[in-house]
C-alpha cells in the first residue's frame, strides 16, 4: 500500500460560464520514503495537485488515500489534524508569520497538536539545529536572508515529524546558489528516510529527484522521460551544484 494513492482526481474551477479543469483525471501513487518531483509549466496545475495531496483543498472528483485514510470521508477537523501531524508544507514565499520569531514559527504546528511548552521549545530547537539555524532562533523572519527563511520553513515542516513533506517551488524565490543549498538539504532529508514531494517548473531542479511526474494542462503527461525534457544533458553534467 502506497503512502499516497490518488485515483481519477479532477479539480474544476468555474468562473462564470467558463470551466477551468485545473486537474483532469489524475491518478498517481507515492511510496513511503520516495523523493519525487512534480514538474510542469506554470499554470499546469502543480500547486492545485499539491494542495489536494496535502489536504488543503478537496478535489471535485476522485479519491485520495493518505496513510490509509480516505480523505474525502474526513471532516474539516480531521483534515486539520492530518495536516498537523502527517504533512509538512514548504512554500515558495516561505510563509513564516512575521510577528513571531523563528523559534515561535517553528513551534507553531506543535501548538495545534497540544504539545507542552517545554517539549515544544526543545523540539523546535532540535529542528532548527537540523537545518543549521539554531543560532537565529530569536530573530524575526524579516531579519533573515531568503535562504535562512526557507530553512526555518523547512524546520517548521519537519518539527511534527510528518509522513510526507510537500515543497512548492521552494527555490523559486532564491538565487541559484541558495536554491542549490536548499535542494541539498532536501536530498539530505530524503537520504534520512523522509518522503518528499518537490513541485517545480524547472527541469534542472526536478533532475535531483529519482522519480518525476510531469503535469501538462492538468493531466499527468503520458511520456515522462529525461530526453523529452532535455534533462539528459543536465543529468550528464552530473548536477554539479549538488
Amino acid at each position: 500500500m502506497a503512502l499516497v494513492e490518488l485515483r481519477n482526481v479532477s479539480k474544476i474551477y468555474r468562473l462564470g460560464e467558463e470551466e477551468i479543469r485545473a486537474l483532469d483525471d489524475v491518478s498517481l501513487d507515492i511510496e513511503e520514503g520516495e523523493f519525487i518531483s512534480i514538474i510542469g509549466p506554470s499554470g499546469s496545475g502543480k500547486s492545485t495537485l499539491m494542495h489536494i495531496l496535502g489536504c488543503l483543498d478537496s478535489p471535485t472528483q476522485g479519491t485520495i488515500k493518505l496513510d490509509g485514510v480516505m480523505i474525502q470521508n474526513a471532516g474539516a477537523r480531521e483534515l486539520a489534524a492530518i495536516r498537523n501531524r502527517k504533512i509538512g508544507f514548504v512554500f515558495q514565499f516561505f510563509n513564516l508569520l512575521p510577528k513571531l520569531n523563528v523559534l515561535q514559527n517553528v513551534e507553531l504546528p506543535m501548538i495545534y497538536s497540544g504539545i507542552s511548552g517545554k517539549e515544544r521549545h526543545r523540539r523546535a530547537l532540535e529542528a532548527l539545529e537540523s537545518v543549521d539555524l539554531a543560532n537565529r532562533a530569536r530573530h524575526r523572519p524579516s531579519q533573515l536572508s531568503g535562504g535562512q527563511q526557507q530553512r526555518a520553513a523547512i524546520a517548521r515542516a519537519l518539527v511534527n515529524n510528518p509522513r510526507i513533506i510537500f515543497a512548492d517551488e521552494p527555490t523559486g524565490n532564491l538565487d541559484s546558489h541558495t536554491g542549490d543549498a536548499i535542494l541539498q538539504l532536501f536530498r539530505k532529508l530524503s537520504q534520512a528516510g523522509r518522503t518528499i514531494v518537490l513541485v517545480t517548473h524547472d527541469p534542472e531542479i526536478a533532475a535531483v529527484t529519482p522519480r518525476r511526474i510531469e503535469i501538462r494542462d492538468g493531466k499527468v503527461a503520458t511520456r515522462v522521460d529525461l530526453t523529452l525534457a532535455g534533462l539528459d544533458r543536465v543529468a550528464a553534467k552530473g548536477a554539479p551544484a549538488l
Partner: protein
C-alpha cells in the same frame, strides 16, 4: 489506519484548552502591535462602562438622599389630613363645612383603631423677634407633645412642650437651629454654640419663653462635609467660608426637608388657639393661608390647619384611610371638605424617578456599549482582511476551524475586557466629575454590583462583537489565503 491517534475529542479539547494561554498572549501581542487603533476601539466600551457605573452611582446617591428625607419627615406611616375645597356636587354646602377641628381628633382617636397616633396642628404665620433681629420660620405651629415623635424630631437641649403647657396655654416654645442661627448666630459664625434656653422671643409681638431646642438636622452628606470642614486648617474658618457655604447649601433642594425641620417652631396647641385664633392658617402647609374670621366656624370647636396621623402599618394603609374617612364623613355630616395626603405618593415618585433615571442611564450606557461593540467588530473584520495570509499559514500547519475561531474571539474579548477595566477606572473619575456639578447634594454611591454588571456587559459585548468576525476568519479558505501574494 485502525484506531489512529488523529482525532479523539477529549484530546482535541485539551489542545484547545492548552492553546488558550498562547492564544491570549497572541491576542495581547496583536493589540499591543496596534496600540492606538486598539485604544480607539476600546473607547466605546470605556465610555459605556463608565457611564453605566456613573449613572447608577448618581441614581443610587439620589435614591439614598430621597429615602433619608422620607424617613426624616416621619416615614410612610404618616398621613396628613388637610382641608380641601368641596367637590363640585357639594359646592352648595360650603357654608356648612366645618373644616378639620379638634373634635375630629377625638373622634378618630375613639373610632379608628387603625390610627395609632394623632397630632393636630395649628399653623401660625409668624414673625419671631429677639436679640434685635427678626426671623420668619418656615413652620411655626401649635401642637401637642406627640408632634415630637410624629415628625421625627429630637430635642437636643431643654424639653419638649408638655401637656401641662398645653392645658395652661403657656407662652413657651421649642425652636430649631435655624431660628437660633438667625436670631443669635450660627456656631460657625460665632465660634461657639449658643443655646438660647430661657430666652424670650416675641412671636407676632407676644413674648414666649424658649424651653427647648431641636438637634441640628442634616443629611449624612452634609454632616460629612461639615466634619471635613472642621478638620480643615484654621484660616479657612476664620474667613467664614464654611458658614457661608452651609448657609447656601442649607437652602438647596436636596436638603429642603432638613432645612424645613431646622426652621420649625413648636408652640402648645392651646396657646395658639387662645392667643392667635384669628391668625391661624386654614389651608395646607405651603399654600397661601386665609385667616378665618369667625372663631371655630360653624361649631365653635377649635379649628385646625391640618391633622397628622400615624397608622398601624404601611400594609394597612388603604384600610386605615377608609376607616379615617368613614369617621370624618360622619363628623363632617357627609361634607367632604378634607383630604388625605400620604407619603406614599412621595415614595412612589421616588421609585418612579429612580426607575426612569436607571432606564435612561441604562439606555445611554447600552448605546455606548453597542457602539463599542460595533467598533470592535469593525476593527476585527479589518484585522482579518489584513491577516488572511496568517490565517492561511496557521491552517496549513494544522490549525482547525475552531482554533482560528477561538483566536479571533479571544482577541475581541481581550479588547473588550481591557476596555471594560479602563472603563471601571474611568468611572471613578467620571463619578467625581459629575458629583462636582451634581444637581443635588447627594454624593453618588458607586455600588459593587454596578461595577460587576458593567464589566460583565463589556465581556458580553466582546464575545458578541467577536463572533461574526471569528466565524468569517474560521471559514477562510486556506488556499486562497496562501495563493495571494
Amino acid at each position: 489506519m485502525k484506531g489512529g491517534p488523529v482525532l479523539r475529542a477529549p484530546e482535541e479539547l485539551r489542545h484547545t484548552y492548552a492553546q488558550l494561554g498562547i492564544t491570549l498572549l497572541a491576542g495581547m501581542r496583536e493589540i499591543w502591535a496596534h496600540k492606538f487603533r486598539s485604544l480607539l476601539t476600546m473607547l466605546g466600551i470605556i465610555l459605556g462602562v463608565s457611564s453605566l457605573v456613573a449613572m447608577s452611582a448618581l441614581v443610587a446617591g439620589m435614591e439614598k438622599g430621597a429615602k433619608e428625607s422620607l424617613v426624616a419627615i416621619g416615614g410612610l406611616e404618616k398621613v396628613r389630613v388637610e382641608p380641601q375645597d368641596l367637590p363640585v356636587e357639594q359646592r352648595h354646602l360650603t357654608d356648612q363645612a366645618v373644616g378639620i377641628t379638634i373634635n375630629d381628633v377625638y373622634a378618630l382617636d375613639h373610632s379608628a383603631p387603625l390610627i395609632r397616633k394623632l397630632s393636630p396642628e395649628m399653623r401660625l404665620p409668624a414673625t419671631l423677634s429677639a436679640n434685635g433681629k427678626t426671623y420668619r420660620p418656615w413652620v411655626c405651629v401649635g401642637v401637642w407633645p406627640v408632634a415630637l415623635e410624629m415628625s421625627e424630631h429630637t430635642i437636643a437641649h431643654g424639653r419638649m412642650i408638655t401637656e401641662l403647657d398645653d392645658e395652661l396655654a403657656r407662652n413657651v416654645c421649642v425652636i430649631g437651629t435655624a431660628t437660633r442661627d438667625e436670631l443669635w448666630g450660627a456656631p460657625e459664625k460665632v465660634g461657639r454654640e449658643i443655646i438660647p434656653l430661657g430666652e424670650t422671643v416675641y412671636i407676632n409681638g407676644v413674648p414666649f419663653t424658649i424651653v427647648g431646642m431641636f438637634q441640628h438636622y442634616e443629611s449624612e452628606q452634609e454632616r460629612k462635609a461639615r466634619e471635613l470642614a472642621k478638620l480643615q486648617p484654621e484660616p479657612a474658618q476664620q474667613q467664614g467660608g464654611v458658614a457661608r457655604d452651609r448657609g447656601r447649601g442649607g437652602r438647596r433642594r436636596g436638603n429642603f426637608v432638613f432645612y424645613l425641620k431646622n426652621s420649625t417652631v413648636y408652640l402648645p396647641l392651646n396657646t395658639v388657639w387662645m392667643k392667635f385664633r384669628s391668625g391661624v392658617a386654614l389651608t395646607g402647609f405651603g399654600s397661601s393661608f386665609q385667616p378665618v374670621g369667625g372663631a371655630g366656624g360653624a361649631t365653635g370647636d377649635p379649628r385646625l390647619s391640618s391633622l397628622e396621623v400615624k397608622i398601624a402599618s404601611v400594609d394597612l394603609l388603604p384600610e386605615a384611610l377608609q376607616q379615617a374617612r368613614n369617621v370624618l364623613m360622619s363628623t363632617h355630616k357627609g361634607i367632604e371638605d378634607f383630604t388625605f395626603r400620604t407619603q406614599e405618593d412621595w415614595a412612589e415618585q421616588i421609585a418612579i424617578f429612580v426607575r426612569n433615571a436607571r432606564l435612561s442611564g441604562g439606555l445611554i450606557a447600552g448605546i455606548s456599549l453597542l457602539v463599542g461593540g460595533i467598533g470592535i467588530m469593525n476593527i476585527m473584520l479589518a484585522s482579518i482582511s489584513e491577516r488572511v495570509r496568517e490565517i492561511g499559514i496557521r491552517k496549513s500547519v494544522g490549525a482547525a476551524t475552531v482554533d482560528i475561531f477561538v483566536q479571533i474571539l479571544v482577541e475581541s474579548v481581550v479588547i473588550a475586557v481591557l476596555g471594560g477595566l479602563a472603563g471601571l477606572a474611568t468611572s471613578f473619575a467620571l463619578v467625581n466629575l459629575i458629583s462636582s456639578f451634581s444637581p443635588t447634594e447627594n454624593a453618588p454611591i458607586v455600588q459593587v454590583g454596578s461595577l460587576l454588571v458593567a464589566f460583565s456587559f463589556s465581556v458580553v459585548v466582546g464575545v458578541l462583537a467577536g463572533i461574526f468576525p471569528a466565524v468569517k476568519a474560521a471559514r477562510l479558505n486556506p488556499i486562497q489565503a496562501l495563493r495571494y501574494e
